[in-house]
Amino acid sequence: MAGKKIGILALQGAFIEHEDCLRKCGANPQQIRSVQEMDQIEGLIIPGGESTTIGKLMHKYRLEDKIKEKHAEGMPIWGTCAGMILLAKEIADMEQVHLDLMDISVRRNAFGRQVESFVTELEVEGIGRSQGVFIRAPYVDKVWGEARVLAYYRDYIVMVQEGHLLATAFHPELTDDLSIHSYFLEMI
């Protein structure tokens, strides 16, 4: 997987953390802020941050259509937390800019406000034990079509894959465990 060029949408949020993880995995991370930069990458990570902020900037600077175009061409995309919200086709009780790509319905701030943010152990299908850092996290209410659940926290869906799309409600980029980054790199 050495040298794979992976873009990280760098409009707002924890993009540097993903960059560090990708570098440790031997990939070649690139911060993405413009449409032109999107043509130089083989995969894209949409990081955690505020989904409303990222969505508005993505729309204003025309990255929304470009990401959809790249998705249609088969480029793998992984969204963490806010990124998962932006990938979803449905956002419960909320109207905001999103990419409308993945057959999942997500609920924002589903576990409550910041004092309810938590760290836990997860069992991820095909990967094994993984640390889950959940920060004002969403969860997935339901999946349909080709979307496949990879991890639950209690009864809640927190990780889903649908073809070349991957979504996690939690933040592997805030841990020392690179297994989910490696998993995404294998998808490319």
Binding site: A10, L11, Q12, G13, A14, F15, I16, E17, R33, G48, G49, E50, T52, T53, K56, L57, K60, C81, A82, M94, R108, N109, R113, Q114, V115, E116, S117, F118, V119, T120, G132, V133, F134, I135, R136, Y153, H171, L174
Partner: protein, 294 residues
């Protein structure tokens, strides 16, 4: 069951705010304007710093009703301020469910020696700092995020620039010291030794560091980002200006595209009046907010 209130999730929320703009708001309507403009969080206040400065007297935690109404109005994180050392105001804010507490020099200090023991709380804290020692003392007390103090309510960025340059200078200095000099360095800057070692290892603060105190224009925001801040607090700069919604959007864009002068130029056009600024030399020593904090 998940474990809540850990330092990982406290510092983690600050990491999610990076590259974003946190805006001071005093009403649910302003909070909605801020969210609509792309703010990554809002600071719920009774008065913005410029008005606190103008009003004089003792500035305290906002009325809980104002904070609750703002929390109900937006989906982004809501922060609120308590006085330095006023741990009961902090307890109240935690019970209201705010997402971050700013133990802030903008309010009148409640304790002339001690800050809040922030480790006792599940809610994370952000604190102001003018130099590395002050930043590490606050982190030592449990702060999960740092910001420059600047000089709040002035619309004058010079103090915020001074503070980020000071912190960066000291990080460069301390990172280059031989190991045997680090204990003395910790003593000199009055910082916990273990945190000094952490700074040397990372060549950076161990937590997210935002700019605050005097940012009034998109160019100010981009300046602070280019100087190495992780994100921006704008206090009076937005809702004391001629066209808050437009200015808020412009500052958000300038914070993301801080290395792109063409974008900053574009968003800086036709913004209407910026807030009226204050020269730092004209502020009486007792009115300097940045000198509050120990």
């Amino acid at each position: 069951m998940g474990e809540t209130g850990t330092y990982k999730v406290k510092a983690g929320l600050a990491q999610m705010l990076k590259g974003g703009v946190i805006m001071d708001v005093t009403t649910p309507e302003q909070a909605k304007i801020a969210e609509e403009a792309g703010a990554c969080a809002v600071m719920a206040l009774e008065r913005v710093p410029a008005d606190i400065r103008a009003a004089g007297g003792i500035a305290r935690m906002a009325d809980p009703t104002i904070i609750i109404k703002i929390m109900e109005a937006v989906t982004i994180p809501v922060m609120a301020k308590c006085r330095i050392g006023h741990f009961v105001e902090a307890q109240i804010l935690e019970s209201l469910g705010v997402d971050y507490i700013d133990e802030s020099e903008v309010l009148s200090p409640a304790d002339d020696k001690y800050h809040v023991n922030k480790k006792e709380f599940k809610v994370p804290f952000v604190c102001g700092a003018r130099n590395l020692g002050e930043a590490l003392r606050r982190i030592g007390e449990g702060a999960a995020m740092i910001r420059t103090k600047g000089e709040p309510g002035t619309g004058n960025v010079i103090e915020a620039v001074r503070h980020i340059r000071q912190v960066n200078d000291e990080i460069r200095w301390i990172s280059n010291l031989p190991a045997e000099e680090l204990m003395n360095a910790a003593k000199e800057i009055q910082a916990p030794y273990e945190l000094v070692l952490e700074v040397v290892r990372l060549k950076a603060l161990p937590v997210v560091n935002f700019a605050a105190g005097g940012i009034a224009t998109p160019a100010d925001a981009a300046l602070m980002m280019q100087l190495g801040c992780d994100g921006i607090f704008v206090g009076s700069g937005i809702f004391k200006s001629g066209d808050p919604a437009q200015r808020a959007k412009a500052i958000v864009a300038a914070t993301t595209y801080y290395k792109d002068p063409a974008v900053i130029a574009e968003v800086s056009r036709d913004l209407g009046e910026a807030m009226v600024g204050i020269n730092i030399d004209t502020i009486k020593p007792e009115d300097r907010m940045q000198d509050r904090g120990w």
